[in-house]
């Protein structure tokens, strides 16, 4: 998607590391991307690749031991990392909101769901909405996510998994955010429920013109909901481009292998190419390109020199010395 004007969100050269007893964990290493109004970006990668760390940084909710060593996160030009907690709290839910993984844990079990959403609305609308206006707002939100408004006066345990996740989405929408971050919102759900939630999310995003960052390890889900995709590996953004381009012509060996090792119910039944080895320990990441120990195309250069994220044209960026060696068709070499 090409758009003019200033992007809504700019993540610029972000470096974040966790301080632990064992040393520094390099969680986000020089990650940059931009997001325009109405655009949806998918961040895909394995657990520990830094995708949730990015989400938490955007929300200003990173763990206590997180340290930012470089970079900025700019929302509408304002650097969020420079804000104090008070200022950040005003933006959280209002400007950026998040749908967390695991809908059960997102709710306080002893309060009615409606009361919990009202709390967010009360905190963020200035001047405060009247009782009737916030009630009206919640009813509309519930209708939007496909829940019966009578459920507002129910407790979280009375909701099924899918309903709870819908309610979480309603909560995330409650203050008209410009950007929603959805972190594995459907991972714990069955496929049919997942399908409904994804459709709902897409529809709402289109209606309200919000931007969406969708985080998942499931590339099939990413393929369905996003315009742009960023592939992360071991704290780095290794490939970035339109979803169509990255899926049809992945240029990074990791993206390529990830795609070729995903079973599908469509297309011919094929032998899948396994990715050898395991993700690296980020206390002591590999030298050069972090993917080199698992990469079938790795050369001497990859071991010593870190590849920059280079634009191959049309906004398709890749961080690999040997991207030309990556086969063009998925499964061809498998």
């Amino acid at each position: 998607m090409t758009q003019n004007g200033r992007p809504l969100l700019e993540v610029d050269g972000l470096v974040m590391r966790y301080q632990t007893k064992k040393g520094e964990v390099s969680a986000i290493e020089n990650v940059s991307f931009t997001l325009h109004q109405g655009e949806s970006l998918g961040l895909v990668g394995e657990s520990g690749c830094g995708k949730t760390s990015i989400a938490m940084s955007l929300m200003g909710l990173a763990a206590e031991n997180a340290r930012y060593h470089a970079g900025e996160i700019r929302l509408d030009g304002e650097n969020l990392l420079a804000l104090d907690e008070n200022a950040m709290r005003k933006r959280r839910w209002k400007s950026i909101s998040m749908v967390f993984q695991g809908a059960m844990n997102s709710w306080n079990p002893v309060y009615r769901v409606g009361d919990q959403i009202r709390e967010a609305i009360d905190l963020h609308f200035n001047p405060r909405l009247s009782e009737a206006a916030s009630k009206d707002r919640m009813v509309r939100l519930f209708e939007m996510v496909g829940l019966n408004p009578s459920m507002l006066s129910r407790y979280p345990h009375e909701f099924s998994g899918g309903m709870r996740q819908r309610a979480v989405i309603a909560m995330a929408l409650s203050c008209d955010p410009k950007l929603i971050i959805a972190d594995e919102p459907t991972t714990a759900l069955d496929v049919i429920v997942q399908d409904q939630i994804l459709k709902e999310l897409k529809k709402i995003q289109d209606q309200l013109g919000m931007s969406l960052i969708y985080i998942s390890h499931d590339i099939a889900v990413i393929a369905e909901v996003t315009d742009t995709i960023g592939v992360m590996y071991a704290g780095k953004l290794v490939e970035y481009g339109t979803t169509l381009e990255v899926f049809h012509r992945p240029r990074h060996p990791y993206s390529y292998l990830l795609l070729s090792s995903t079973p599908s119910i469509t297309g011919p039944r094929r032998k899948l190419a396994p990715l050898e080895g395991e993700p690296p320990n980020l206390l002591d990441p590999p030298t050069g390109c972090r993917f080199h120990p698992r990469c079938p195309f790795a050369t001497e250069q990859c071991v010593v020199q870190e590849p920059p994220l280079e634009d191959l044209g049309g906004g398709h960026k890749v961080a690999c010395w040997n991207w030309e060696k990556v086969p063009v068709t998925i499964g061809a070499s498998a």
């Binding site: 049919i192 169509l244 599908s264 395991e278």
Partner: protein, 333 residues
């Protein structure tokens, strides 16, 4: 199919609900309700369905981790089928040599205080197989087989020192160390990272054909079932609604539930637009269910017949394609 290795006949599991201290239970969840299928030697059958459909309960009954309420589990033994659903303690030990299980969560399924050697050797110890030296040789061979090489470096480590993928390899080694003929695998890759999944699945496939092991592979993921299994059985609310060869099931689903499940699976290609899903999500609980079709409430195609007749039997529509639906005509497949 010739002689099956395992034949399950009308297997049921009812769980009582609202049981008072001195009251007889009156309400039952029909978790598994009259399920029948066969698994041939070396074959792998996928059991697919939404959470709560009874697929794990079925697996647990087959491994005798759970007592069946009724029905038969027949296991081939020297050419004849022996009912293992109601065997005694002594029989259980012989049974465990034949049937093993791989669990979903490699973090929970191992004793954290035991070394990998202890974990993998445990079945041999319980079964009193071999001398200490022989056991060590066998364990080393198995660790090598599952790709934990060199075995010496893994044998005396503890589970917390291994990654999820490595632990699942240990779990596979533990299940295969006594040469079972049948293994129940309950979502063995769903907790693993995407890049690790395929290597674990490949490992199970290769070992399965090498050692002639049959699998019941329980998963919610149809794409995984397709990759792993010769045949797929689809379960809904305690009933098997359709069984067929994997490719046949995907290409030619007959039951409306199977069709809906298939259309809900996301496709890893942004250029492909899926057909809309026609049923509502969210599976209920089958508490004292009516005798009509279990899928009736969610079925987009239900007609008058479906409201009048009992739950349809699983019928052969040719080519070993079984379906339980009143609306599928014989020959239409």
């Amino acid at each position: 199919m010739s002689q099956p290795l395992l034949k399950v006949d009308s297997l049921s599991k009812l769980f009582p609900v609202n049981r008072g201290l001195f009251r007889k239970p009156v309400d039952f969840v029909h978790a598994v309700d009259g399920v029948s299928f066969e698994i041939g030697p070396g074959e792998s059958l996928g059991l697919v369905g939404e959470s709560g459909c009874g697929k794990s309960t079925t697996g647990r009954m087959l491994t005798r981790l759970m007592e069946a309420t009724s029905g038969q589990i027949l296991l081939a033994d020297n050419g004849s089928l022996v009912d293992v659903a109601h065997i005694n303690r002594e029989g259980m030990r012989t049974f465990r040599r034949r049937v093993q299980m791989i669990f979903q969560d490699p973090y929970e399924s191992m004793n954290p205080r035991r070394t990998i050697y202890d974990t993998v050797a445990e079945p041999l110890t319980v079964q009193k197989l071999g001398t200490v030296v022989e056991r060590e040789v066998k364990v080393a061979a198995l660790l090598k087989l599952v790709g934990l090489t060199p075995p010496e470096t893994f044998m005396f480590r503890y589970p917390h020192e291994l990654s999820g993928g490595q632990r699942q390899r240990v779990a596979i080694a533990r299940a295969l160390v006594i040469d079972p003929s049948f293994v129940v695998a309950d979502e063995p890759t769903s907790m693993l990272d995407v890049s690790i999944r395929i290597s674990i699945m490949d490992l199970m496939l290769n070992l399965g054909s090498e050692l002639g092991v049959s699998y019941l592979y329980i998963t919610h993921d149809l794409a995984v079932a397709r990759y792993m299994c010769d045949r797929i059985a689809v379960m809904n609310l305690g009933k098997i609604v359709e069984i067929a060869d994997s490719e046949e099931l995907l290409a030619n689903p007959l039951h409306p539930y199977t069709k809906a499940l298939l259309s809900a699976v996301p496709v890893p290609d942004p250029a492909i637009k899926r057909a809309p899903v026609e049923i509502k999500g969210g599976i209920g609980k089958a508490i004292n269910p009516p005798s009509t079709c279990r899928f009736l409430e969610r079925c987009p195609m239900a007609t008058d017949i479906c409201h009048q007749l009992d739950h349809p039997p699983l019928e052969d529509k040719g080519n070993g394609h079984y379906v339980a639906c009143h609306l599928v005509d014989v020959g239409a497949a």
